[in-house]
Amino acid sequence: MNRASLFIPLGIFCLIMFVGYVGFSLGDRKQLPSALLGKPFPQFEAPLLYNPQQKVSNTDLLGHPTLVNVWATWCPTCKAEHAELLSIAASTDVRLVGVNYKDSIPKALRWLADYGDPYDLVLVDANGALGVELGVYGAPETFLLDAEGNIVYKRVGDVNPRIWRDELAPRLAQMGVYRTPEPETEPASVGSVSMREAHSR
């Protein structure tokens, strides 16, 4: 036994840390390496919230980039992300589809009446069957579909300003349904105008 052997524990620890680090950096786990990523949106048929007689299927999601947001009234995080969804609806041309997940219809209607309705279509998934197809394990979850109906991005958890800025906005811009605001098109406040003038001088 010499002095060097006293560093064996440190070596073992470094090895464990390395494995931990690699395992950990395998990916942002909220942006799950979902089996669905790159695959077509699963086949489904679900009634509309506002008109339960009318059924919608996955062919109705083709032809235009679509953001599918799984939400429920029992989910406070959904409430937290609601403002972000409203602003996405206002500032982009993406088709926003809500899936009301394991919820009661009257409560869902009251929620949309109270807080505003960002969605172009709201589907009802009362028993969670579509949720199973999508591998949903909690609300909210958000899927971005391209015009061909393939899932290009999945988010587990709330869509917050950071997710919007870093994940969604660039993808939507690439799909051509969102224009990154030019400084000129912003409602210019007095302060920012003078700043820009100062800059150009």
């Binding site: 006293l6 560093f7 440190l10 494995v19 029992w74 406070p76 995080t77």
Partner: protein, 650 residues
């Protein structure tokens, strides 16, 4: 407003921790006069501010302040009051605040007992613990702040506490477990301080021992409670699943168990020093590793908290700094600690070594089983899981070997044991164990050789310890508490072995379809299903099945398993009906409703399952008894005596 007080309390505690860490860990030649008193008052300050912070969070829960995001996600206005309080530690952020509170409590107790230790050493210990606490507080403050607000979108009501956690077991399980986890920081800090001060000696081992025993006892209780909770709440009838989170608590337990024994050798014989240091570092490091596993989402588990990569990265870096730093210190400083004390094969030292090797190999096996899926995923991209068979194949033989080592304890002397002394246990205790084991072999079906081996070994432990108690108490009146503590813990170990061996192999499990008035046989007992009725709880509606169990001896009792639907989240939970007994449990849980008013029903008969936990309780009790021993208390008296002597001399 109250939540902001909590926030400020957390920040102030962090500042004090930083100051105490600087004072405590400053190089010796720069140490200021009064550093020790300064560190003590800063430790008291950390405790006070964290208490304020924790109380603020409790207040937010009790008053249903759903503008606080953490409250909105883990509580609901319908939740009964006791669960509103326990919901404080029902999620990641709050449970981490509890962790910090417990850390501060340990530091406070340590600070109050400061007179027992030399001043320089003691200041180092407080500095080291404050540094750890600073890391915890920063983690809470920057990545998992429980006081974050949901403004302006304040929900009208919260999303409810996970119904799995609405239970007495959860109220007490995390605090006990954290007492154990965080308690291991004390021997860790003692080891670091001893390395820094270059005083790895018998006195250091004696100071560490009560703290280690205490933390270990809490860890034992916490693990046992978790196992008991899983048994009656998850509805599967199992009590240990080799789940990554369970393993995360079991790994530090194994290390701490080895540490307790190794410390004994270091104190009594002055050997195993560097090994003891290493175990002290490993115990707390494994607690941190457990926190990383549970809170980073690197492994999926039933217990997993909300996943956030930022948190995982923070813990990983913290782990690298703390463990990497302490192991580097160990590598640089432990070299001087080599002691050459001879001992023969038939000595306590040798069997302690055997015990340590077995425990460390078990630890390595659990760690391999827990971490290798990550490595595998890193290499191949596929997810695998190492199942129960892997752990069982390793564990059963290892624990049997460990039992064999425990058997020898009462008859072994330090240094060397005359063979004459060993004869007694083979001649007197072993035959008793064999006879009782043999009786079991002939009366039960099915028979397993491994169960027989476990029973004989466990009974042998009991017999040889009982014999030893009898012999010793004849020789001297008033055996030391440390002796009673050790013996109790060893008997608890034997009790757990018997419980595990019997319940794993002799349980009866029936999955049946039962319509009202149907009768099923469970072993020799008759189970009659009377039907299902609807019952309202405070925040749930339940369908309650009523079963009457009539035993072979004519005794009968009623069991009422429930299927609860929680109003806030719509979650459905199974609540098993259990008739608990010292010798056997009868366990009924409701499955799914089938057509024609029938239900899928799961019936279990579990002999001696309570012994698993009672054994663990005995072990923890033994650990506690040993802490109460006079020799640790005398430390204070001796010191006051010398101080008084010095004063009178002056």
């Amino acid at each position: 407003m109250i939540a902001e007080f909590g926030q400020v309390g957390l920040a102030l505690a962090g500042c004090l921790a930083l100051a105490a860490a600087i004072i405590g860990l400053m190089p010796r030649r720069m140490t200021l006069a009064g550093a020790s008193q300064g560190a003590v008052s800063m430790v008291v300050g950390q405790f006070v501010f964290i208490t304020v912070s924790f109380a603020a969070l409790v207040w937010c829960f009790v008053t249903d302040d759903f503008s606080v995001a953490y409250v909105a996600n883990h509580s609901n206005s319908l939740l009964p009051m006791q669960y509103k309080v326990s919901a404080v530690w029902g999620g990641h952020e709050g449970s981490f605040l509890l962790w910090i509170l417990i850390m501060c409590a340990w530091m406070l107790v340590l600070a109050l007992r400061g007179k027992n230790y030399p001043e320089g050493f003691f200041t180092r210990v407080l500095g080291c613990m404050s540094l750890l606490n600073l890391g915890f507080i920063c983690f809470a403050f920057f990545t998992s702040n429980p006081f974050e607000r949901l403004i302006p979108m304040t929900p009208a009501d919260g999303s409810d506490l996970n119904p799995l956690l609405q239970d007495f077991g959860l109220i007490v399980h995390p605090p006990l477990l954290y007492m154990g986890y965080v308690g291991l920081a004390v021997p860790f800090a003692f080891a670091v301080a001893a390395l820094m001060e270059n005083r790895v000696d018998a006195a250091w081992a004696r100071w560490s021992r009560p703290w280690t025993n205490f933390a270990w006892a809490f860890l034992t209780l916490g693990i046992a409670l978790g196992s008991w909770w899983a048994y009656y709440e998850l509805g599967w009838g199992g009590w240990w699943f080799w789940d990554p989170v369970e393993n995360a608590s079991f790994m530090p337990w194994l290390a701490a168990t080895a540490l307790i024994h190794s410390l004994a050798v270091t104190e009594k014989r002055g050997t195993f020093k560097s090994w003891t240091l290493l175990l002290a570092i490993a115990g707390f490091s494994l607690s941190l590793l457990g926190a990383f596993i549970v809170r980073s989402g690197v492994l999926t588990s039933v217990h997993a908290f909300a996943v956030d990569p930022q948190r995982g990265m923070y813990i990983l870096i913290f782990l690298a700094v703390v463990v990497g730093g302490s192991l580097t210190l160990y590598g640089l400083r432990a070299a001087g600690q080599r002691a050459y004390v001879g001992f023969s094969l038939m000595s306590r030292e040798f069997f302690m070594l055997v015990n340590n090797v077995i425990l460390v190999v078990s630890l390595a096996a659990v760690m391999w089983g827990t971490l290798s899926p990550i490595g595998y995923e890193a290499l191949t991209g596929d997810r695998i899981s190492i199942g129960v068979p892997f752990f069982n194949t390793f564990f059963v033989p290892l624990m049997l070997l460990l039992a064999l080592a425990v058997v020898m304890v009462p008859v072994l002397n330090w240094k060397r044991t005359p063979l004459q002394k060993l004869k007694s246990t083979f001649v007197q205790a072993l035959p008793v164990a064999f006879v009782l084991g043999g009786i079991w072999w002939f009366v039960t079906e099915p028979k397993y050789v491994s169960v027989l081996a476990a029973l004989v070994l466990a009974l042998w432990i009991v017999a040889t310890h009982a014999r030893d108690i009898w012999l010793r108490s004849r020789k001297s009146r008033g055996l030391p508490l440390a002796y009673w503590g050790m013996t109790t813990a060893h008997l608890g170990f034997a009790m757990s072995i018997i419980g595990i061996a019997i319940t794993a192999t002799q349980s009866i499990e029936e999955d049946v379809r039962m319509a009202p008035q149907d009768v099923s046989m469970l072993g020799t007992a008759e189970v009659r299903f009377l039907g299902v009725r609807t019952v309202d709880g405070p925040n749930y509606q339940a369908e309650q099945g009523v079963f009457v169990v009539t035993q072979a001896d004519g005794g009968s009792f009623e069991l009422r398993p429930e299927k609860r639907r929680y109003l806030a989240g719509g979650n459905v939970m199974t609540e098993a009906g259990i008739q608990a007994g010292f010798f056997a449990d009868t366990y009924v849980s409701l499955g799914e409703p089938l057509d024609g008013g029938a239900w899928a029903v799961r019936l279990h008969y579990k002999p001696l399952v309570r012994w698993v936990w009672l054994g663990a309780l005995l072990m923890a009790f033994g650990g506690g008894l040993a802490v109460m021993d006079k020799r640790y208390r005398r430390l204070t008296e001796r010191r006051t005596a010398t101080v008084a002597g010095a004063q009178s001399a002056a």
